[in-house]
Symmetry: C2
Subunit: 142 residues, 2 copies
Amino acid sequence: MEAAEAGCPARKWSLVKTMYATTARRAVVDLLKGERRYLTASTIFALLKRDNPKLALSTVYRTLETLTELGSVSSRTEPSGEASFVYCNDEHHHHAICTVCGHVDEVDCAAMEQFRAALLANQSFTLDEHSVEFYGRCTRCR
Amino acid sequence: MEAAEAGCPARKWSLVKTMYATTARRAVVDLLKGERRYLTASTIFALLKRDNPKLALSTVYRTLETLTELGSVSSRTEPSGEASFVYCNDEHHHHAICTVCGHVDEVDCAAMEQFRAALLANQSFTLDEHSVEFYGRCTRCR
DNA sequence: CCAAAATATGCTAGTCAATTGCAAATACCT
DNA sequence: AGGTATTTGCAATTGACTAGCATATTTTGG
Ligand SMILES: [Mn+2]
Ligand SMILES: [Mn+2]
Ligand SMILES: [Zn+2]
Ligand SMILES: [Zn+2]
């Protein structure tokens, strides 16, 4: 599975009508796969600009939008209001974000089920979806 | 406690150096206390403009910022990227948001503790804070 | 391999939520 | 009421993000 994703997530890309494996898209995916933390579009742009001086910021935005639709990328909104993006696996999960280095741990959803049950018990609320983010310090930073 | 908050949250306001209880601030607080759902600044502005034609949008933004700092208001980011605001109680809690009418139920944090413990057990992660939002249908809308 | 067709990119010019500077207005205190 | 601290309204600006369009890149299939 990891081997099948080498270079770019070809498996996922095949889901879309037609989608060219361009250098820009490969660059964005490779960068996000390496840095498992939320990065803003302008940060990604600045990092990639070094090796690809003619890259445009609008291309980064368009690429991130496409990857988000595919599910390869998940986005969140920073306190500043700026959007940021992180590489993601397929399965539904949540994020534990290190407040020191920004590293993102993926938290399995299974443990959430017991909490969902508790919520439904004492709240008269039909639960459809949930959005959860934990903040703390990862192994390296604690 | 509810009586002490009549009109405006005077108790909270006293925490700040000096803060005038202006008509604009009272209007924003009263509106948000009535509508227990997330509203954008421009929506709030439009609603208040009816009774106060000379109100400025920038005043609404500044008021919401102030109330957020005080803790009387909590904000989130709509999928569109626009910020929205809801009236909040003091205690740490989470929000269950009705996907039909937008009504916000406050979810007690206590039940979260057992989940926090589970998270710490199978994730090598020092949990400091968390941000949770549930989406579903409230009693009225189910 | 090599075009033609399909799609993506770079650049520029917008858009629009949100912020800011400042003079006029309002709230507070004595 | 009078003086001072704070807020407001208004207009100008910012800054993240989007859109139009000509050019460049990637695919396809001959
Ligand atoms: Mn989950
Ligand atoms: Mn909690
Ligand atoms: Zn860390
Ligand atoms: Zn509802």
